[in-house]
Amino acid sequence: MSRARRLLMSFGIGVVLMLGVSVLRSLHAQTPAEVPAASAPAEAPAPAPAPGTPDPTGDTTGTAADVPVKDAANPTLPEVMAVVGHNKIATNIVWTLLAGFLVMFMQAGFAMVETGFTRAKNAAHTMSMNFMVYPIGMIGYWICGFALQMGGVGAIGALGGTAPLNSEFSVTLFGKAFDLFGTKGFFMGGDVYDVGVFTLFLFQMVFMDTTVTIPTGAMAERWKWSSFLVYAFFMSMFVYPLFANWVWGGGWLSDLGANFGLGHGHVDFAGSSVVHMVGGVAALAGAIVLGPRLGKYTKEGKSVAIPGHHIPMAIVGTFILAFGWFGFNPGSTLSGNDLRIAVVATNTMLASAAGAICAMTYMMARFGKPDPSMMANGMLAGLVAITAPCAFVTAPVAVLIGAISGVLVCWSVFFIDHTLKVDDPVGAISVHGVNGAWGVLSLGLFADGVYGDGWNGVPGKVTGLFYGDSKQFFAQCIGTLTCLVFVFVSFYVFFKVLDAILGNRVSVETETTGLDMPEMGALAYPEFATSSTGAGYSIGTSGPVSGAVGSPVKAAEAS
């Protein structure tokens, strides 16, 4: 008998013995548990089981014995309340952390969508950008991003107070305090050593990382690695935290309600503007400064399609993002006790469905085929748009917001590609920038006035234009405009300066052969020929064809 067979047999015998022992044990354990249950009267509360008794149904796990009191016979109300309060905050913290874990996984979704929509010769480079934003963004946020964003947010009741985050820098304008950035929590050191603050850091960090990864899609296939590295620190340390402070950290946009009577100030439940529009506008500025990929436009300025290399990867990535969004939106309550999470989660999925269906239908009606890349963009557009209003609208309105975003994303892709002539390989500007703006504006239109009492320190529920509060819509417009101007100017200047110092773009030779080997030192697919003869796009395709864009596919076979 060979050594391998002997090992296999002894393993098999071991498994059988272990199974037998565990069955015997469970038979033995069940017997005494049934005796008191049968003899006790039905009305009386079930007596606490003896310590160490198994509880297969879960009915007797967690009893009065688990509440720590000084005198078990006479528990006091404060003692019981302390446990209830601890449980409440514990639920919130567990919920917020789990939601944060889901959002973290969205990084994988972004990596797959962006890499799927770009060419095989750049796959290692595109994947690597999506990978490194996670660690770089996190460290940048830990250094100063979190402090600037949340250092002055004050007490967040749902997380047990977050007492140490109490210092905000502000200037006085028009006789009002304009809060600009927080000043506590640098390096997460000192007195922010608090479970509530750590929970907030994790949750806000993964949101920030989502923003950092959005421009990598619009700037893919031509962005120099060194320039990307500097960008990732700049976004996570400064630009994102500042705008996020103004909306979520107690800054001046959130104070528009309290200071100037504009509804509840700029309201963005989970980040249509804070996360997505910031990322989308940065992507726009970056793609403009970087310029289009070689071969993207003809000398006459006509747009040429450059198909992505892996549609299945992009579709799986889209599903991962849609799954992660269940952390993104419902988690933004920061509370598992706020059962509005049911409405938030359902609205989120409804809008994503409407976005995908409308984008697909629009493409079929206009071009005769659904275009998988636009179906995926449509679902993501619906998710981005519902991110701000998800907690404040009814289900039919969520479907409407998603449906509009599905068509809007198609129009926007064509407008940016054909009219603005800005090359965005994955549609990041349209999905995140345009639909992020639509999301916060739609909140100002459709908030139904049943939720959000006391939001941003303003009494009453959040109510949109169509439900009677035009000033809320005005606040949303100010927030949207601020995001566009602040982020665009910041990144346009940043990329221009970086271009002069470091250079943003790879050489023509690198771009033509693919960025994988020259920039990363590794090919994504070394076993396959992924680069053509140097035309800049894959074998079998060439320059543009004459004829109006949008004409039906011409099958030359019939000619």
Partner: protein, 112 residues
Amino acid sequence: MKKIESIVRPHLLEAVRTALQDVGVVGMTVSEVKGFGRQKGHTETYRGSEYKVDFLPKIKIEVALADELVDQAVDAILKTAKTGKFGDGKVFITSLEEVVRIRTGERGEAAL
């Protein structure tokens, strides 16, 4: 001895292979190729922009065979690879000077 190179539509490969085997062809080499002829390319739309597919995928079948089999083999290809539309492909026939079987060193028709 002749060599037949035929360019056929990819989905008809199995039919052509079977027909060639039926007339006595005992081996072949197949490759995925791209090219254009009278079928030319066609245009597709991706994210609202058009692109031209210049080279269409085809299958190239290479067969080496004895002179007396050539006519039957060409007939077999014509029967199975023809749809009557542009893009059916072509058959190229060339003379073979010599064939060597690597395993045994046999030459000429014995090596086929």
